[in-house]
């Protein structure tokens, strides 16, 4: 029915008005030889994702496929060639090999060409030229060994190998995928003739993913890739695939009758010669075959919502193995076919087709649990077992003009003043504090986390403490950083308890089970945890931070639960000096008034003082006047806008992993020795923090962050 949206009229696929199920999920594709039956128009309009998973007797169906739609194509069937393999007996075995090339009706797809192209792609595509065997041949072998049901095809691979095929697949997914399945099954049959499962082709990682709100009628019946967050899943709906009937009179069981477009053809009479009773057949539920189906609602992620808009949603239809692959709250990237079906508005026939509902018939679902700040994430996984296919780096995130964008960013990074520009772009409304902004920038870029084979971890996250007089816009800075890093959590030290920050155990009110609930630090794993009013925090809460800030884990032992949770967060804390204003007569340490053990865990500590200086005052005054009276665009001339800034940061975090050069290492060492010496000179107050090994680590992290800022692989 959805096909009506495409220009050519397709009489064969007019909606079945009486069908209670609007989905066309007939058992169109069947295992074994029937895979080959359809050339011509047969594949069109059919949904092939719903293949029954096993049927050990392929010759079972003597009847021709019920769903070969009437087609203007001259020849009803064209069988792709398969050479000399031991194909099981096939009902249409006679008409193979000899047909002239022909097109699927309404498209420019030649079945022969496409299946050849697919075969070439499967056989010849290698991820690196040195590979002995084609990548997908290897994967097919693996799948066979694991008795898998699906074959994941990376859209990017296909594009690299054969653009034409890729374009055809995106434009006519139903037809091409049908052929794809056929080719794959042929290959499988050659390798393992008795393999009794049907292998489905699942395409993922399309070159461009569409924004949900940009889906429009022209995308219908095309392959699309959409990112979003699952908000609701329906319960699993058993969908009947093959029905079994029993004669009420003689007890004879009918053959399994496949479902045609959501409709069961009840046999009018008993098939047994001796009985032949009319209207005696009754459905036997437990001998029918069902497939799982689920309807899932996908909603836009916050970053895709334009200002002043509400998130859009789209329905997904999941089948078989994809059922329950995602849970509400998961961020996923879905590849599927965008489809529309008519809504029956009234009970009368005439209004049937004026409204349409849309959904995505899901082919592949990838969980993407990453926010803008995340570089690599162990959570990122493919639902299906065959992961080798996806081991190739996911360069997804930014659709379409991704490469252009990367070029732009690289261009930016080459500018000599990039460091200043970046710091200027950070929180432009906040006046001055250039040094602090640079520090925050380092925090955003972060160092490189290192995990030694011995199991030792070196954190890459940079912790920053801001100590300053009241009214120096510390909180505003925190708010800004919190906004910039989506995984960031903003919390106030006043009133937050240790458990609120780390993790706590609570009882589920409904089931009475004890559950481990994450606190702010765990929630901001791989993000930035902004803690305002750090000095007002209770000592017990603060002491929890020791572990988090160095080991980057949260350990909890409570109510029988002993757990260690990851909390790889950067901490950005701000505090007032001990006497609420900075007292120049006291030492820095006395002013900050935090335990040295905690202080040494901060990589950078900033004192933001409000000094009586006429020049800074003047600049402040000018800044404020500009804030009120100038066009913000002119004011922020060569600063980067927020999206560019986040793109820049995330690209650097993802792709740049700087190494230390020998000279840099020497410099670092001498610098460190120098620092140690300075702390130790005789007569120095005990209250001065001497440099510890932590400092050299800090310095390394900071230099890594600075290198990342320049997109430089070397420090």
């Amino acid at each position: 029915m959805a096909r009506d949206s495409t220009p050519p009229s397709t009489p064969g696929s007019s909606p079945a008005p009486s069908s209670s199920s609007p989905f066309r999920t007939p058992s169109s594709s069947r295992p074994g030889s029937n895979q080959r039956r359809r050339g011509g128009g047969g594949g069109r309009g059919q949904r092939r994702r719903t293949t029954p998973t096993s049927n050990s007797s392929p010759g079972y169906y003597a009847t021709p496929p019920p769903n070969v739609a009437p087609s203007p194509a001259p020849s009803p069937a064209l069988t792709p060639s398969y050479d000399g393999d031991e194909a099981p007996p096939s009902s249409e075995g006679g008409d193979m090999d000899s047909n002239p090339p022909m097109l699927v009706w309404g498209t420019n797809i030649s079945v022969q060409d496409v299946s050849d192209a697919i075969l070439r792609f499967l056989k010849n595509f290698r991820s690196s030229p040195s590979d002995f065997e084609g990548k997908y041949i290897r994967i097919i072998d693996q799948t066979l060994e694991l008795e898998g049901h699906s074959l994941n095809i990376d859209g990017q691979d296909m594009f690299d190998y054969d653009q034409d095929l890729y374009v055809k697949m995106v434009r006519y997914p139903l037809e091409v995928l049908a052929i794809f399945d056929m080719v794959v099954m042929e290959l499988v049959n050659k390798k393992k003739p008795l393999y009794d499962k049907h292998i489905q082709t699942r395409v993922f990682n399309l070159r461009s993913s569409v924004n949900m709100r940009d889906l429009n009628p022209s995308d219908i019946e095309k392959m699309v890739s959409v990112k979003g967050m699952i908000i609701r899943c329906s319960s699993i709906i058993p969908e009947i695939k093959e029905a079994c009937f029993r004669c009420l009179i003689c007890g004879h069981f009918s053959d399994l009758i496949p479902i045609d477009r959501g409709r069961i053809n009840e046999p009018p009479r008993c098939a047994r010669e001796e009985c032949l009773a009319m209207n005696s057949m009754t459905l036997v539920h437990n001998r029918c075959r069902f497939a799982d189906k689920q309807i899932v609602r996908l909603q836009e992620t916050p970053d895709a919502i334009p200002e002043g808009g509400t998130p859009h949603t789209v329905s997904l239809l999941m089948h078989d193995k994809l059922v329950d692959a995602g849970k509400p709250g998961d961020r996923v990237e879905v590849t599927g076919i965008y489809r529309a079906m008519s809504v029956r508005v009234g009970s009368t026939q005439r209004t049937v087709k004026s409204l349409f509902k849309t959904y995505i018939d899901c082919l592949h679902l990838k969980k993407t649990d990453k926010s803008r700040m995340q570089a690599e994430d162990p959570m990122e996984q493919d639902v299906n077992g065959v992961d080798a296919a996806s081991s190739r780096g996911f360069v997804d995130d930014i659709p379409l003009d991704y490469e252009d964008k990367v070029e732009q960013l690289k261009e930016l990074s080459k500018q000599p003043d990039i460091y200043d520009r970046l710091s200027r772009s950070l929180a432009p409304s906040i006046w001055e504090l250039e040094d602090v902004k640079k520090g925050l920038l380092c925090q955003l870029f972060g160092g490189h986390a290192l995990k030694l084979p011995s199991g030792a971890n070196f954190r890459g996250d940079i912790n920053i403490l801001l100590v300053g007089d009241p009214g120096t816009s510390k909180s505003q800075l925190l708010q800004y950083i919190h906004k910039l890093s989506p995984r960031g959590i903003y919390t106030s030290g006043r009133g937050s308890s240790a458990v609120g920050l780390t993790a706590y155990v609570s009882k589920d009110p409904e089931t009475g089970e004890t559950v481990l609930e994450s606190g702010a630090l765990v929630l901001s794993d791989k993000g930035i945890c902004c803690i305002d009013e750090f000095d007002k925090m209770s000592d017990s809460a603060r002491s929890m931070l020791h572990e988090v800030m160095e080991q980057q884990t949260v350990s909890i032992a409570k109510a029988g639960i002993i757990a260690s949770l990851n909390a790889r967060t950067s901490v950005l804390a701000c505090a007032n000096p001990s006497g609420s204003r900075y007292n120049p007569r006291l030492s820095v340490i006395e002013n900050i008034h935090l335990p040295p053990t905690l202080l040494s865990r901060f990589d950078l500590i900033y004192l933001i003082l409000d000094k009586a200086d006429e020049r800074t005052d003047k600049r402040l005054a000018r800044h404020i006047v500009a804030l009120h009276y100038e066009n913000p665009e002119t004011q922020l001339q060569d600063a980067l806008d927020l999206p560019t800034l986040t793109a820049y940061v995330s690209y650097a975090r993802r792709h740049i992993h700087p190494q230390i050069t020998d000279e840099a290492a020497d410099d670092l060492i001498t610098g460190y020795v120098e620092m140690r010496r300075r702390g130790n000179f005789p007569g120095s107050s005990k209250k001065v923090i001497t440099a510890t090994p932590r400092q050299i680590e800090s310095v390394i992290r900071l230099s890594e962050a600075l290198a990342r800022m320049r997109f430089s692989e070397w420090k």
């Binding site: 009506d4 949206s5 220009p7 009229s9 007019s14 008005p17 609007p22 989905f23 709100r213 429009n216 967050m229 908000i231 609701r232 329906s234 319960s235 309807i295 909603q299 916050p302 002043g308 808009g309 509400t310 998130p311 949603t313 789209v314 509400p328 709250g329 529309a340 029956r344 508005v345 009234g346 009970s347 026939q349 005439r350 049937v352 087709k353 004026s354 409204l355 349409f356 509902k357 959904y359 929180a427 006046w431 009214g471 120096t472 816009s473 800004y480 409000d610 009586a612 006429e614 005052d617 003047k618 005054a621 000018r622 404020i624 006047v625 804030l627 009120h628 009276y629 913000p632 927020l642």
Partner: protein, 590 residues
């Protein structure tokens, strides 16, 4: 070409059909017409050039039944929620001619199963009357041009209107998003009447203004937008939609027919919005309305500096008497009424000026609170109030929240149109324990006051929406949970009186407030800039505790002050006035 053949008013669909056929005849491909505006020109000419607009009836609950379906109507409202796009058969071939379904809910002609067709899409907006409309505004706006012909009554209505029937008598649909708000309004009302000891006259006067919030004419409307995403419509915008009012009885039994998708997740929004309760409007022309568009310029007013000054003085005088002769508070209040966010430089909203009047308690709340409320309601088009109490904080949700069961955005007290005035009464707040909702609400309120931003709750994440609401906090001492820009101890010297003005005066004042507020282009010349900067530096040298926020606020006030005189650029005298005001305020704070 456009002759009387087009009856845009009574038969807009006929005109649409003719125009569509014309477009086809001129050789355009029906597929390309999907978002093409083939009707706009003719309708725009009819409405705005030929004066057709005044003949178009306004859709409200009173004349809902009187308006024939498929005629042209208009609706003014706030966009409360946006639904997913709807796909429909935009063009189809009937025999050999192309027909369109644009601007209809269902196809007017039967479509053969095999007809060639094109799928188009349209946006669905759920609009409600602007929350917190004050009665004068409604009275002034609604009946103009309405078919009901009440125009002669308007002036009387404004003077003294019989108390309207209580809105609560009306049937409230369970899924009505206004429910939260209306019950809140009810609460306000009940509280208002319970602690009232004032005379009958005052009461009725009050009721007049209080009936503002939600009375019978709060009719939501489902607007279908055909222009595609180009039209920039945001949540909480006030819009005027002119289009075809459709009512199809066949849609009524829509519910009975469940299909699989909506069955499984019961998320078909429209199922909860029967056309009998929520009329459909097929929008042909939409336009954003600014405050200024909503308030008509009083007759005989020749805008000019002198006049503006005169109005300012008179208004200030009245505000002073409302505030028990506290001149300083009145000045601050005036600036507060004029404030509007003019720029956002993340994360600062420049131009907001929230005011916290301290020194209110139970006793004088009865005296001044009401007269203040009354003044606000008589002067500003949209206003709302929140009685802050522990119970209120713990039970209501201030921020709108998405209900995935019905797939609707359930409104909250802070979903307000841009430019609304909000009074938060903190005197009701006593010591008590907040639950999770309460803590969340406090956080939302703080963010709302600090950054003029409300986070809408979408369960899995929050979406921050920018707001522009003038917030007035009334509290006993400086409010810590509601950090306002300005804290001013209120010092009345006599009992406050009710706003006392003739209707023409009121009209002038309303015009003054809304016009000057829309004034966005305000400049500063370099000489003045230098004066301001030097003053700031000097002030900081004298008092180190002055932070960025204070200085920034001075400038915001100076800007508003100069705007209040109708000036386009900052003048030294206004800057001086602001400094003087701040000095007096500081003295009070000590």
């Amino acid at each position: 070409m456009v002759g009387p053949a087009f009856d845009c008013l009574a038969n807009p669909l006929g005109s649409v059909r003719v125009l569509f056929e014309k477009a086809i005849e001129s050789g355009r491909n029906p597929a390309s017409l999907s978002r093409a505006d083939f009707t706009g020109e003719v309708f725009r000419r009819f409405l705005f050039e030929e004066g057709g607009l005044s003949h178009v009836p306004i859709l409200d609950s009173v004349n809902l039944l009187g308006i024939p379906p498929n005629s042209l109507v208009r609706f003014v409202g706030m966009v409360q929620d946006m639904f997913d796009d709807e796909y429909y058969v935009g063009a189809f071939k009937d025999g050999s001619t192309w027909r369109t379904n644009k601007y209809t809910d269902v196809s007017s002609l039967p479509m053969g199963p095999s007809s060639e067709m094109h799928l188009w899409d349209r946006r669905l907006l759920y609009c409600v009357p602007v929350p917190g409309q004050n009665s004068w505004f409604k009275a002034a706006f609604t009946p103009i041009n309405s078919l009901r012909g009440h125009s002669s009554v308007v002036s009387h209505q404004r003077e003294k209107r019989p108390r309207e029937p209580d809105s609560m008598d009306l049937e409230v649909d369970g899924s009505d998003p206004d429910l939260a708000l209306s019950s809140h309004a009810k609460k306000t009302r009940e509280e208002g009447s319970s602690c009232s000891q004032s005379s009958e006259a005052l009461e009725s006067n009050l009721a007049d203004c209080m009936s503002s919030n939600f009375d019978s004419s709060s009719l939501p409307c489902l607007v279908k937008i055909y222009d595609g995403p180009d039209v920039d419509i945001k949540l909480n915008d006030i819009f005027e939609f002119i289009g075809v009012f459709t009512f199809d009885p066949e849609l009524v039994n829509h519910n009975s027919n469940h299909d699989e998708l909506s069955d499984a997740l019961c998320e078909d929004v429209l199922a909860h919005l029967p056309p009998s309760k929520v009329p459909r409007l097929q929008c042909i022309i939409s336009r954003r309305l600014a405050l200024l568009d909503l308030i008509s310029t009083p007759l005989g007013l020749q805008p000019g500096q002198e006049l503006v000054k005169g109005i300012r003085e008179a208004l200030l005088q009245s505000l002073t008497s409302v505030l028990g002769n506290d001149g300083l508070a009145a000045k601050y209040l005036l600036l507060h009424f004029l404030s509007q966010i003019h720029t956002r430089i993340e994360p600062v909203a420049v131009g907001k000026l929230s005011l916290n009047l301290t020194g209110f308690n139970k006793k004088n709340m009865g005296l001044f609170g009401k007269s203040l409320d009354n003044a606000i309601q008589c002067l500003l088009p949209f206003s709302d109030s929140i009685p802050l109490s522990i119970e209120y904080l713990n039970t209501t949700s201030l921020a709108p929240k998405k209900n995935y069961q019905t797939n609707r955005l359930v409104t909250g007290a802070l979903q307000l149109a841009q430019g609304t005035h909000l009074t938060i009464d903190e005197t009701e707040l006593k010591a008590g324990t907040l639950n999770a909702t309460g803590v969340d609400n406090i956080r939302i309120l703080k963010q709302f006051l600090d950054f003029q931003r409300v986070e809408y709750e979408f369960e899995y994440y929050k979406v921050a929406m920018d707001t522009d609401v003038q917030v007035l906090v009334l509290s006993e001492a400086k409010s810590n949970i509601l950090p306002a820009d300005l804290v001013l101890p209120f010092r009345p010297v006599e009992v406050g009186s009710y706003l006392n003005a003739s209707s023409s005066e009121l009209e002038a004042w309303r015009w003054y407030l809304s016009t000057l507020r829309s004034h966005r282009y305000h400049t500063i010349d370099p000489a003045m800039q230098k004066v301001v900067q030097d003053d700031m530096v000097a002030a900081r040298q004298a008092d180190r505790s002055l932070g960025t926020e204070e200085l920034s606020r001075w400038l915001a006030m100076a800007r508003l002050m100069s705007i209040s005189y109708g000036e386009n650029s900052l003048k030294p005298e206004h800057w001086q006035m602001v400094k003087e005001m701040e000095k007096l305020r500081k003295e009070r704070l000590v």
